[in-house]
């Protein structure tokens, strides 16, 4: 690929060529969702991020630099893989994976962090903080900070530090400080609370490199824009490979960044069904799940109006998933909007279903997926059986499973 072609792809990615109405309004709203529910102290910082981002996305120099990093550092474009043996178990439907697991650091998170790390420089800030659940966003952030010479502090729940200890070591090796968060549920939601506390204290020097399409405006829009290269590439590659668009696109949904990343370029293609798979944990009736969109109610969490797992008085209910990256009681406001408008459909996948798909992909295709991505694979097995052998399903294989070996060893008694 020539440099000029690469630049065009990325520029299209940031310009937002989806259907009208897919961008938030001036208050950061997608329909009734989104907005800003944060301390007034942070409003000037959010305004500054929004302003600098608006300038950056129409600055050819910024786009060229982002594009250069995506191609020469992250390893874009990522390939598609036709998984024929796995497809036999999906009712014969043709399953095609978008291989975000092959990017540098092993997950789609690298796309957003490279964009936001460049934005940090443009903001004139020298310190980056981030939250992480599975550790993928933390590793990606630490990586981008090492590359660009930024100080990096990662907040991570104690429970997640334990189940993703390998990623903790990776972050430290990359020069980041990892702060274990021991309050509340000691998982992703509490890591986000703690990162916000740091940000309000150190906002003059610090950018909060938010890891998903949730949080206050403009994060849902910025993270989406940096992640949507996944769908922009995949749409073009599908046309090249199969001569047509897929019948359905499938992705796992925690906060929702990999799902928005692959959905967004297809929003205007009304014949392409969009399916998001949330973590049903031990099952919907167990109460131990992360079914924010399918079982939650509308509320405010982490600065945004969206679907939330909450009780009758607005207290957040702790989520559960075998996958740290999906273990979150909120979700990005654009997903809430896509659900309510009916453009996307959301379903639950239990821990057991996800682990079965995890093992199946390894054995049939020689690919060990992240347990997050395995939720999308499990959903695809069901979806394929419904749609039948004529259908083509594009799945976002959002990350690789190396980080999940501890969990897999325990689960499968390896």
């Amino acid at each position: 690929m020539t440099i000029a072609e690469g630049t065009l792809i990325t520029a299209a990615g940031l310009a937002g060529n989806g259907p009208a109405g897919d961008d938030p309004d001036a208050r950061g709203r997608f329909g009734v969702f989104g907005g800003r529910f944060v301390p007034e102290a942070l409003i000037p910082a959010l305004d500054e991020v929004a302003k600098v981002y608006a300038e950056a996305k129409s600055d050819p120099a910024f786009l060229a630099e982002f594009d250069h990093l995506l191609r020469t550092y992250a390893g874009r474009p990522t390939t598609l893989t036709d998984v024929r043996r796995f497809s036999e178990r999906a009712g014969g439907a043709r399953v095609i994976l978008k291989r975000e697991d092959l990017t540098h650091t092993g997950a789609h998170k690298i796309n957003n962090v490279l964009g936001q790390a460049l934005l940090t420089k443009r903001l004139g800030k020298t310190r980056v903080i981030a939250e992480t659940g599975a550790g993928q966003h933390g590793v990606a952030t630490a990586t981008a900070c090492a590359l660009l010479g930024l100080e990096c502090v990662i907040y991570m729940g104690e429970v997640d530090c334990e189940r993703q200890s390998l990623n903790v070591a990776r972050m430290k090796l990359l020069g980041a400080s990892v702060v274990p968060v021991g309050n509340g549920s000691r998982t992703l939601k509490d890591a986000i609370n703690e990162a916000f506390r740091d940000w309000v204290t150190n906002v003059e020097t610090t950018h909060y490199l938010f890891g998903t399409v949730a949080g206050p405006h403009p994060f849902p829009e910025i993270v989406r824009d940096f992640a949507r290269i996944i769908g922009v590439e995949a749409r073009r590659q599908m046309l090249e490979l199969t001569g047509r668009l897929p019948d359905a696109v499938a992705a796992a949904v925690g906060g929702g960044s990999n799902a928005i990343g692959i959905f967004h370029a297809f929003l205007g293609d009304q014949d392409v069904a969009l399916h998001g798979y949330e973590a049903a944990g031990h099952g919907v009736d167990s109460g131990e799940h992360a079914l924010t969109l399918t079982e939650g109610s509308i509320g405010v969490l982490h600065g945004s109006r969206t679907y939330v797992l909450q009780d009758d008085e607005g207290q957040t209910i702790e989520s559960h998933s075998i996958s740290a990256g999906l273990d979150y009681p909120g979700v990005g406001p654009e997903h809430a909007w896509l659900k309510d408008t009916g453009r996307a459909t959301y379903h639950g996948v239990t821990d057991d279903e996800a682990m079965e798909a995890f093992s199946l992909l390894a054995r049939t295709e020689g690919i060990i997926p992240a347990i997050e991505s395995a939720h999308a694979l499990a959903g695809t097995l069901k979806l394929g059986r419904e749609l039948g052998p004529e259908a083509t399903i594009l799945v976002n294989l959002s990350g690789r499973g190396d980080k999940d070996m501890g969990t897999a060893m325990k689960y499968f008694d390896l």
């Binding site: 007034e40 409003i43 910082a45 509340g184 939601k189 506390r197």
Partner: protein, 264 residues
């Protein structure tokens, strides 16, 4: 009954700043919170903020997080918050509820405003509700005849201060520093300037909170603000006390020290 307006008028007549104390409902226990807040009033607090315990207090430091966690573990619910407001209002202070937005949103904003007014509450402080999102709440509060207090911060440019002040009734809450709640060795250097900038946009009283915890700090802030807000320092006294009686005594002593402070 004391309103915010009468509480500030009284302080002004005494040529001093008002003393505003914060305590979450349900901490250290449901009854213990009523007893402690009542002691704070008896020892000199003019206004009491009753905190509504919330699972994700992202503006609060470790002390308030700890207290709120205990309150939730005690099974504190919004009905308990209302009962606490009602009991503390009887002691003669103007009582507000300080809460993140989601509990009000979920409870039903109109119902919350009505129930708070019926309990004798005088208003709310909502630290994560900004002018862009505050419109409906201001209307419902006005209809229920309760005040709405919002925050300005050292980072707020003048146009934001104007927008926030326009939504406030009762008083404007000036955060003394960039950060979360919690007592600190010194009050933020930006506080005095922020108060001056805020006064340029409103005739309402301006109160300073975050990081104030001693009589000397209260005296310093009282030199330029209409009110001094103290929260974490009261909670710290209760957390450190070996039993409830000594906790109450310590809270009473701190309130008296601060009350002397606001009198210069």
């Amino acid at each position: 009954m004391t309103t915010l307006q009468t509480a500030f008028e009284k302080a002004r007549a005494d040529k001093r700043a008002a003393l505003v104390g914060y305590l979450p409902a349900g901490f250290p226990t449901k009854d213990g919170a009523v007893a402690a807040a009542t002691a704070m009033v008896e020892a000199g607090c003019d206004v009491i903020e009753i905190g509504l315990p919330y699972s994700d207090p992202l503006m609060d430091g470790p002390t308030i997080q700890d207290a709120v966690h205990r309150a939730l573990s005690n099974g504190t619910r919004i009905a308990d918050v209302m009962r606490t407001v009602e009991a503390v209002a009887r002691s003669g202070a103007a009582v507000l509820v300080m809460t993140y937005w989601n509990p009000i949103d979920r409870y039903g904003a109109e119902r919350f405003a009505r129930d708070l007014a019926n309990a004798g509450g005088r208003g709310t402080i909502t630290p994560d509700l900004t002018p862009e999102e505050a419109g409906p709440w201001c209307e419902l509060s006005a209809a229920a005849n309760i005040d709405t207090v919002f925050l300005v911060a050292p980072s707020s440019p003048d146009e934001r201060i104007q927008a926030v002040a326009d939504c406030c009734t009762g008083f404007v809450y000036a955060a003394s520093l960039m950060g979360v709640t919690g007592a600190r060795a010194s009050v933020g250097a930006a506080a005095e300037g922020l108060v001056a900038r805020t006064r340029a946009h409103t005739g309402l009283p301006v109160c300073v909170g975050l990081g104030v915890g001693t009589g000397a700090q209260a005296a310093e802030v009282a030199g330029y603000a209409d009110g001094v807000i103290v929260g974490s320092a009261f909670i710290r006294r209760l957390l450190d006390a070996p039993d409830e009686a000594s906790g109450l005594k310590a809270v009473r002593e701190l309130a008296a020290e601060l009350a002397a402070g606001v009198r210069g």
